[in-house]
Symmetry: none
Subunit: 213 residues, 4 copies
DNA sequence: GATGAATGAGTGTTCATTCAT
DNA sequence: TATGAATGAACACTCATTCAT
């Protein structure tokens, strides 16, 4: 996953690479603690234990560090590497939803900041669109396969369906976890999302599963 | 006898009321054009053709005008006053979705700013939560009725379901209209949302409807 | 004691006079509560239960109300009307000091504001100088008489002595009462001031009085 | 590694230290010329020939520079380092009064501002109280010694006496020098203060001194 | 007289970024 | 590279005073 940031002009020395990573880690911490607008370069430098000016040795701007952090984050959030294929649609949906939920929880604070920056920064919006598109495409591909295999009715547009369901999952987690629209019974929420997804896609009922109890 | 210096939230004279409305209208315009952080009080005052200080005669802060605008907006967005009751669930969902979509389109620019401020301002988040909760409650009530009437399976939690589906609609419209994640064929998007909602809720198929063509 | 303020241009109606007094009383209250710089015309008007603009019907500025209040205050502070003459110097000093102390206590808050404005406002300084001079002159006259009567050594300049002792009393009370340089045992403080004054003036010892012991 | 943005009260480099001193000197000049409330940070920066923002590199606020200047000033005003001990009380009083007077003259403009800020700023009042207390304690110690040595009657409370006499000197100089309550014959004023102090303390008459001529 | 709306100049402080060392 | 000092434009908010009704 190539970064949308240009790499620093010259290859870094060993020491430079370490300083750069320190700055990235520090930036993430501070962003999480204070949000994007309230983060000062001074905070990041201080946290990384480098001089103020050193920040600009490695990043051209506050926006730039964030973009790089977000790029890594998006990669992790949509990484399905570990998911075993070849299961039933229901199982795959459940696995994917749980995996996404786990990742969301792990990165909840950053996801809040991501949402923040998404409303403020055009360049960042572009980055996010790209990631989203990639993810949607992948999902749409699976839907199309299920349609071909007769597991799912053909009257749903795979692209739009993928988009809508992703929006449902994403925004539900955002509101539930980040915005804390009353702290929900997470298990029930996830079960509901699975079930809604399952039924919305018109997938065959699984024996003995999917109910919310 | 409240001081006129401490922004008498309710103007005492006809003239004052007029000025206040001018300011609200101007604020909305400027917010839409420049976003919340880039809006200057000077812009608002200028647009309203009043002196700089007059803004503060009626609003204690930039945040305050926005809060009032958003409050009105939310009221409009969730106003279901005109929707005829007593239709089939499918018809009601379709009507509600279309109505919401129309409202969204009418207020697209403001909705973008709303999302922006939602990530920045805690007090605003609270206001929004309240509106959302009211809307969710209303939807959940309908779902429960449909469950009682046997139109919808009982294994779905009405509350969580309402939340999830609202998230789907809301965020789909946000991404499609505000963020412009490729300009979509709106009709197809809406049809997809209707259909997904319909199936997710396990509603009885309507003869001659629901297909996306 | 004529005010340094011009009276309002036209004689007031009965009602006007009442409003004016309400404003004066309100102003004093607010000044005492918030100090001069932090007092807003709005506060005064509100407290007096008149409209904002009405303040300016009776006073040309914030400074002007304060000047008038201070003028009255100074008159009260230095009013020796009730002090019986013809006592021994020691007794007169003690009476004067006590009377001044009583007045100071009664008006402590205003005295604080007076000190404040004295550092900020030239016109007010002038007013104060005038009052002080009058008071000093009166004291110096007494000192001169005591010198003529042989009760007090002639090597002290009556004018400068009066000034210095007034400064001692005044500033001691200011620091003790207004600035609260540790809350003193007032009785002991007053006794000390009496005794110091008495000795500084070289007055004949009084039998059985004046000790602090 | 403290942030350079959060006003590193102690500059880390030689250059920084120089800039800081330039700002202090400039601030003193401007305060003296315009008084505290009318001093703008812009004036200070301009006078120091540094950029506006550089002020905030070294001081967090206007109040803060003033506090530091006042702290230095108080130290100088009450520095009795050079006063030879072991003289007669009369001589010591005279020396101390003259020394204080010299210092007062040298710093007259600042003393005016000090008085101003003392009425406006609570934190500054605290600083001043501390300095005053230190000074009073020192004087009281001397008085107590004189009492033990039988040079001064024991019926005076040393603490309160020190306070009262300091108030006399201080306020007399303030009114005479700062407020210019008619430009006095300074020599006569000082002689009067010496004499009053001497007699108030009941010190033994010195042969050939103490008269005002 | 009384009311309260209208005015707009004024200012402390922030902070991303640049630069000299 | 590393450091930390220097820069200065930008902005929300205040409030005494004026003025139209």
């Amino acid at each position: 996953m190539s970064s949308s940031q240009d790499s620093p002009d010259r290859p870094l020395t060993e020491r430079g690479a370490r300083t750069r990573e320190k700055l990235l880690a520090a930036a993430r911490e501070v962003f999480e603690e204070r949000g994007f607008p309230d983060t000062r370069i001074a905070h990041i430098a201080e946290r990384a234990r480098v001089a103020y000016g050193s920040f600009y040795t490695y990043f051209p701007s506050k926006q730039a560090v964030f973009l790089e952090l977000a790029d890594r984050l998006f990669a992790e959030m949509t990484d399905r590497g570990a998911l075993p294929a070849g299961r039933s649609p229901a199982a795959r949906i459940r696995r994917a939803n749980r995996a996404y939920y786990e990742a969301y929880l792990r990165n909840a604070r950053m996801m809040a900041i991501v949402e923040q920056v998404a409303t403020l920064d055009e360049e960042f919006q572009e980055l996010r669109r790209k990631h989203r598109a990639r993810s949607i495409t992948r999902t749409a591909r699976a839907l199309r396969r299920w349609q071909r295999e007769g597991l799912m009715p053909g009257d749903l547009d795979p692209e739009l369906t993928a988009r809508a369901l992703a929006a449902m999952i994403d925004h539900s987690l955002y509101l539930g976890i980040v915005q804390g629209d009353d702290p929900p019974d997470t298990e029930r929420l996830l079960d509901t999302l699975d079930l809604l997804t399952h039924r919305a896609l018109g997938l065959p009922a699984e024996t003995g599963s999917g109910g919310l109890g």
